[in-house]
């Protein structure tokens, strides 16, 4: 990837993209296998798993990634045993498979980034995988001779077993169009089949239409193979493994039937046209050149010839409802998003100048503008949808976190995920990974009790962590729920007091105590485990979520568990904002924090202490901040009477009243990132461009208030309460 001009690098890059997809399919498959324990799993699932590993191996081989090949090969060997029904993985084995899958993805990434490979883990896992083979194999199957009849008995209604060393099979093989489209070659399959024993191959051309009716890309030919072999049916199936689903295969073990009744003679025209296929009863496939096969049209790139059929096949198997997908360079989408942003700004400018021109609202121009605005919005929504991705990849990463975390604290934890298909902006997904990891670790480490405590509480020994995603009223809700003991509020309060975060005598409601978890410098872990409690607390999670324009809330019930809900905007590119004037500047506040606008009367404002004012809102007191002063635009005025005030409520239910000079509008604004490479303004989240081409800053109200250095979070809440008590 480092060298963009190198065609090989490009192919390599696309191999690694394929790998990501395969790894995803692998994870999915393993998940399914785990859920369908006690051997009831769908044989197709294990096939998908096997093929994913196999395809990675194939591709890795083509690029000479030997460490990857080596690991994938031995992993695959074990999976093969499972596939053949020899090995029935118990839950420990499944865990090992997951570990191996994780390790495989580590290896893939290490190869991609050309970082050192974690060889020791490879060895350790391989030893464990091999042990699996040894034990299980020994228990169920001793010698390969025993294995064969076993395989057959799985295999099916074989009335005729009189020749134990030479089985007789009749195989009907009819390729479908996709088989050729994915670059498979029937000749190779037939040869492989013939290698298994003595065979005779016949070609059935009954379906072949006259030349004028012949569709060049439709295969009409089927082959009938009589095979005398020592191999069992599964081995024959293996030959067709990579074309599974791309052809019709019938394998019958009975004595050969009289052959298909309608082997029609080849139409005369065709035999002239295609001399190679003139002998319908060709004895051996050497002469069989499948000329009717269309060229592999879909395999546009010459890349990875070796792995093309494997990967194509695996993908087909993995995603049953595969949609057609275009892979687009992210940069192009960014460009489109930016252009649409320009369009929205331009439209705002246009509408402003039409307004100023004093046109009647019923004039054609104004009607046209309205239509234009609607279209712009539609385009904007559509473009945002392009950036949206299902949260599945994120959730899969989390399942790995759960496995690692539960192993580290020696708890048995099940992760249930729901709503994996929920789509969120790509950037949101990327930036959600860290906070979510932290929350999952917290849930496993602090949320869930140990197995003994769980049994005492009458719960199953294994804890459950549930990760869900859903769309709700224009936002994305992601929840992390555990079924643990719930928040120990008494202890939380003790800790907060002992750390000097709250005064000792204060009375707090349950939700106020829960919110103490988000205070900087709060950590409930008694000991610093190597998992969570690394000095990174929930406050960091909260900050990360807030920087995405999100909110996080806690809901905890004693002995039932704790749920953290994250609510996020669908996109980071537009914001519903309130446009206000402050000290001659135009500012934008996120509309979702504004709950009320007030006009101050002379008696509404009370001084708490010099420089600190509160405003009385329906019996309660709310701290009052002058935005102009806070942003350094002007000095504190003598009186705020007559000013306009926005009452805002932040995520942590902090309330504040912000003094502004006037409200302009409520509208959608396009978020423009501020290049804070050399200056990051406190309280400013981003900027936008107004209809007149001027830049307006978008405020982050929580940051503005925090930036005052006065109060924050619970402190503010408490001071409010103290005021109310006075």
């Amino acid at each position: 990837m480092s060298d963009q001009n190198d065609p090989m690098a490009e192919i390599r890059a696309s191999f690694f993209i394929e790998c990501e997809e395969l790894l995803e399919a692998l994870q999915d498959g393993l998940q399914e296998m785990e859920e369908a324990e006690d051997g009831s799993e769908d044989p197709e699932t294990i096939n998908v798993v096997f093929r994913a590993v196999h395809s990675i191996k194939g591709g890795a081989g083509a690029f000479g990634l030997e460490a990857l090949v080596r690991f994938a090969h031995r992993y695959e060997t074990v999976l093969d045993e499972v596939r053949n029904g020899v090995l029935h993985p118990d839950s420990d084995a499944m865990k090992l498979f997951f570990l191996a899958a994780d390790h495989l993805s580590d290896l893939v990434r290490a190869c991609r980034d050309e970082t050192p490979l974690p060889e020791e883990t490879s060895e350790e896992l391989l030893t464990r995988l091999d042990a699996l083979l040894g034990d299980e194999g020994g228990a169920e199957e001793v010698a390969p001779e025993d294995f064969q009849p076993m395989g057959l008995s799985l295999g099916l209604d074989l009335p005729d077993l009189d020749a134990p060393t030479a089985n007789h099979f009749t195989i009907r093989f009819k390729p479908e169009q996709e088989l050729f489209a994915t670059g498979n070659e029937p000749l190779m399959l037939l040869r492989n089949l013939c290698d298994l024993g003595t065979s005779s191959v016949r070609c059935n051309l009954a379906d072949l239409p006259a030349l004028e009716d012949l569709a060049p890309e439709t295969p009409y030919i089927e082959w009938l193979i009589e095979l005398e072999t020592e191999a069992a049916e599964p081995e024959i199936r293996d030959v067709f493994e990579f074309v599974d689903g791309l052809c019709e295969i019938e394998i019958t073990g009975a004595a050969p039937e009289q052959g298909p009744t309608e082997i029609a003679p080849l139409p005369e025209e065709l035999s002239k046209a295609l001399p190679e296929e003139a002998e319908p009863e060709a004895a051996l496939p050497e002469t069989l050149e499948p000329q009717v096969a269309p060229p592999p049209t879909t395999a546009g790139k010459s890349e990875e010839r070796e792995s093309a059929k494997d990967t194509g096949e695996a993908r087909k198997g993995g995603a049953a409802a595969a949609k057609s997908v275009v892979r687009v360079d992210l940069e192009r989408i960014e460009r489109l998003v930016n252009l649409v942003g320009e369009l929205v700004i331009n439209q705002a400018m246009l509408s402003q100048s039409l307004d100023e021109a004093g046109l009647s609202p019923h004039s054609d121009a104004m009607n046209g503008l309205e239509e234009f605005q609607r279209l712009t919005r539609d385009i904007q929504d559509s473009v945002m949808m392009i950036r949206a991705q299902p949260v599945k990849s994120l959730f899969q990463r989390m399942s790995r976190i759960v496995r690692e975390a539960s192993a580290a604290v020696d708890k048995d934890v099940r992760l249930i995920t729901e709503g994996e298909g929920t789509e969120v902006d790509k950037t949101v997904i990327e930036r959600l990974s860290d906070p979510l990891t932290h929350m999952i670790r917290n849930a496993v480490d602090h949320g869930l009790e140990g197995a003994a405590d769980r049994e005492k509480a009458g719960k199953p020994r294994a804890g459950t962590v549930k990760l869900t995603a859903a769309h709700r009223s224009g936002r994305v809700i992601i929840e992390v729920a555990d079924d643990g003991a719930g928040i120990n509020r008494k202890r939380v309060q003790e800790i907060a007091v002992s750390k000097g975060l709250i005064p000792p005598e204060i009375q707090l409601s349950d939700s106020e105590i829960d919110n103490l978890l988000f205070l900087p410098g709060f950590s409930t872990a008694k000991t610093v485990s190597n998992l969570s409690g690394r000095g990174v607390g929930m406050d960091v999670v909260k900050t990360a979520i807030q920087s995405l324009g999100g909110r996080i809330t806690i809901n905890s019930e004693p002995n039932k568990g704790t749920t953290f809900s994250i609510s996020l905007p669908l996109t980071l590119a537009v914001l519903d904002g309130m446009v206000v004037n402050v000290a001659g500047e135009t500012l934008v506040l996120p509309l979702n924090v504004v709950v009320e606008t007030l006009s101050l009367g002379p008696d509404d404002v009370q001084m708490l202490r010099p420089g600190h004012y509160v405003v009385r809102v329906r019996g309660g007191f709310v701290p009052l901040y002058d935005l102009g002063v806070m942003l350094g635009y002007r000095q504190q005025r003598k009186t705020e009477a007559g000013a306009i005030v926005l009452l805002i409520v932040l995520e942590d239910s902090t309330r504040a009243a912000l003094v502004i000079d006037g409200i302009q509008d409520q509208r959608q604004v396009v978020i423009k990132g501020l290049d804070d490479s050399f200056y990051r303004a406190p309280g400013i989240a981003a900027a936008t461009i107004l209809g007149d081409g001027q830049i307006a800053l978008i405020l982050d109200p929580a940051d503005v208030i925090a930036g005052m250095g006065h109060m924050r979070g619970a402190d503010l809440m408490l001071s409010e309460r103290m005021i109310a008590n006075e």
Binding site: N338, E585, K672, L674, S677, Y679, A687, I695, L697
Partner: protein
């Protein structure tokens, strides 16, 4: 910039800041814009004039006079913003007026005398004389602060 010295030719954009003459390597200049009102950033260092809309992107604008600790003048219509590109990041520099483009050779440049106590000198890379006037060649990397040495 010193790579420029290979062919010994150097073009400088000269401009005036607080009645002093400065210049920049023209290769680092992206464009020159007329003065537009900036949107001030709260609590920014005094030399940060704010941000402007540069065709849809937010461009930070720096008052070069204040940055060089020179008396800042009232802005008027003749002021211009020089948009410079430093390692892919665009920054606007507010100057009084652009004077000229001059072609010189590396040999015409002199190192400034070592007067390291003078904060202004560290941003002046070299000096040259054109028509008997001393022109200071600014070192853009020193003028535009990096994130590391400007903790917000």
């Amino acid at each position: 910039m010193s790579e420029q010295g290979q062919n010994n030719d150097l073009e400088l954009l000269t401009f005036r800041v607080a009645d002093q003459e400065y210049s920049l390597d023209i290769m680092s200049v992206r464009e020159i814009r007329g003065w537009t009102r900036t949107t001030p950033m709260p609590h920014a260092p005094d030399y940060m004039r704010g941000v402007i809309n540069l065709r849809g992107t937010v461009l930070p604008v720096m008052d070069l006079a204040r940055r060089l600790h020179l008396p800042s003048q009232e802005t008027n219509d003749r002021n211009v913003i020089i948009v410079v590109n430093l390692n892919g990041t665009l920054t606007g520099l507010l100057v009084d007026a652009v004077s000229d483009i001059v072609a010189i050779t590396e040999d015409d440049l002199q190192l400034p005398p070592d007067m390291s106590t003078d904060p202004q000198m560290s941003v002046v890379r070299s000096l040259t004389v054109i028509d008997d006037r001393m022109i200071r060649v600014l070192d853009l990397r020193a003028v535009v602060p990096a994130a590391s040495d400007e903790v917000a």
